[in-house]
Symmetry: C2
Subunit: 322 residues, 2 copies
């Protein structure tokens, strides 16, 4: 057992007994791929697997953060511990995520049953999904009953994150522009539960009706889950109790239908492949061949070799066909 | 020379002489990775490299499509042929992209110097960037002087697309919500030219001022390009001439500064690595090892093995360390 491993296990033990600072340090260690982070990874994984991971996604302006706050409050009232990972595409230029984080933490700052962590891209778009998945695992391993992942829902990172979530809420809002709804549309299929937030708005009923109509176009299979369309007013807590009931119901359905195990297996395979792909790319950059590869790069620029053919050369060297 | 290659070369020749249907078929062939697509790839690459690739990105609702239309009109007035690739995150549920496509094509339908293609994610988010990059290459190879790539600018796909573009416009609009601006903020750094569209709005001057202020925070290096902030009213063509002048100026700067070659080299290397990573992932799924890999997947689910360790096993098998 190395020092790094001892330190990692100590942080995990403290995190599991409610030490928020230890949880925070663990997430940072994994995010930075430090010695502690690498050493603690298997321990985090073996301690995880008990949380209900809830994805909350939707167009900008749909009031996701307010909704997540309301869900947190309701979950705490049901005596469940909560961890939140908010994925924020804002950059260092605005520092919006940190500010939002602080404002949100203030409300719950004295409650150790609440932990909120913002993940910001800050120029590392590629690693955002991986860092988020690691943060979810840490919160799960630290014994949080409910782990909420909040994403803007417009990027490729979301696909991987949605795969980790057991239950996905897609938040719509009455009266947003068509262009914005189009972003959301790509995510509609991934919803286990649809939420129409800001239900006090006059166009609310129309939004619910058009969602129900859109979803009705798909054939429901027998014994399958039909994603309900629920209305909420997150600001005053309206509809939140019913929403959390539906979330619980979905988890119960997942387990009784065997879908839970099927998704778990699919997510594990996808995760292994993603990590493998990341590692291969890293190895590709590190290998001495990468340095010797400038001839191929020059050939591509000179239009003598296309990028696809160059890529085949690179991987045939790195990973010979069997 | 195979039949597929003959057919591909024929399509490319027809595309280069202005046959829009041939261009369209080529894009489809590459997108679907058909025999023709695979065979024609090197020919497309060797014919490409002459177009000015212009990325146009910005928050939903900023009027990007109208702006792109206005740029197209101005470019045609300057006797340049234009190709447009509109990356649309909408899904098959809404079919918004196809509709938008048709509406846009109508205006220019009799002009063979215009070609518009929408790329929609339709459940293949992972492949969107690759398909878009291929479409750009086809339009370039078909001899289009200007290739415009329009993206929503909120996803990881954009990073790869921005890398291909020689000049990137980031479109802002006065008076959008903070949440939406946050999305855009992550893209501000990538801008070669800032456009504040809908400049007739009262808050327009404030938006220009706050952009200039935000950008001023960064230290300008000597001999570097300082991204100008331009105002447009795309609907009536206001400011479009000045915008296209700035686009030309940026290209001239890229070439005179040596930045053109530097970016070209960087983009080629990134592209090779991305394709290699995709191919490796594909090979990983196809290899017999993947079938035999269920024991590792079960071990991950049972929490005896973490995904990272499983991934290392997978790639050590597939790509032995040297």
């Amino acid at each position: 057992v190395t020092d790094a491993e001892t330190r990692g296990i100590e942080l995990l033990t403290r995190g599991r007994s409610g030490d928020i600072s230890a949880v925070s340090q663990l997430i940072t260690a994994l995010e930075g791929d430090s010695a502690v982070g690498r050493a603690v990874r298997p321990h985090v994984h073996s301690a995880a697997g008990h949380a209900h991971v809830l994805g909350v996604t939707g167009a900008p302006g749909s009031g996701k953060s307010t909704l997540v706050n309301a869900i947190m409050r309701e979950a705490r009232a049901r005596r469940r511990s909560v961890g939140v990972v908010a994925v924020d595409p804002s950059s260092s230029l605005t520092a919006g995520s940190i500010l939002g984080d602080r404002i949100r933490m203030q409300e719950h700052t004295l409650d150790p049953g609440i932990f909120v962590r913002s993940m910001s891209s800050r120029g590392k778009l590629g690693g955002l999904a991986r860092a988020t998945v690691d943060a979810i695992a840490v919160l799960d391993a630290a014994g949080r009953d409910l782990v909420i992942v909040e994403t803007v829902g417009a990027g490729q990172a979301d696909v991987e994150i949605v795969q980790i979530a057991q239950t996905t809420l897609v938040v719509s809002v009455p009266g947003l522009g068509d262009d914005i709804q189009a972003i959301k549309a790509g995510l509609l299929e991934t919803a286990d539960i649809h939420v129409v937030n800001k239900a006090d708005r006059p166009e609310s009923n129309r939004t619910v009706a058009s969602l129900v109509e859109m979803l009705g176009l798909r054939c429901a299979e027998p014994h399958s889950w039909t994603a309900p369309v629920l209305s909420t007013e997150a600001l005053n807590g309206g509809g939140i109790r019913e929403l959390l009931d539906a979330v619980d119901e979905h988890l119960a359905w997942l387990k009784s239908s065997g879908e839970f195990t099927r998704r778990e297996r699919e997510a594990a395979l996808a995760r292994i492949q993603t990590v493998a792909s990341d590692l291969l790319l890293k190895r590709m950059r590190e290998t001495s061949f990468a340095t010797d590869f400038s001839a191929e790069v020059e050939a591509v620029i000179a239009r003598r070799l296309d990028p696809h053919a160059a890529a085949v050369r690179l991987i045939d060297h790195l990973a010979p066909r069997r």
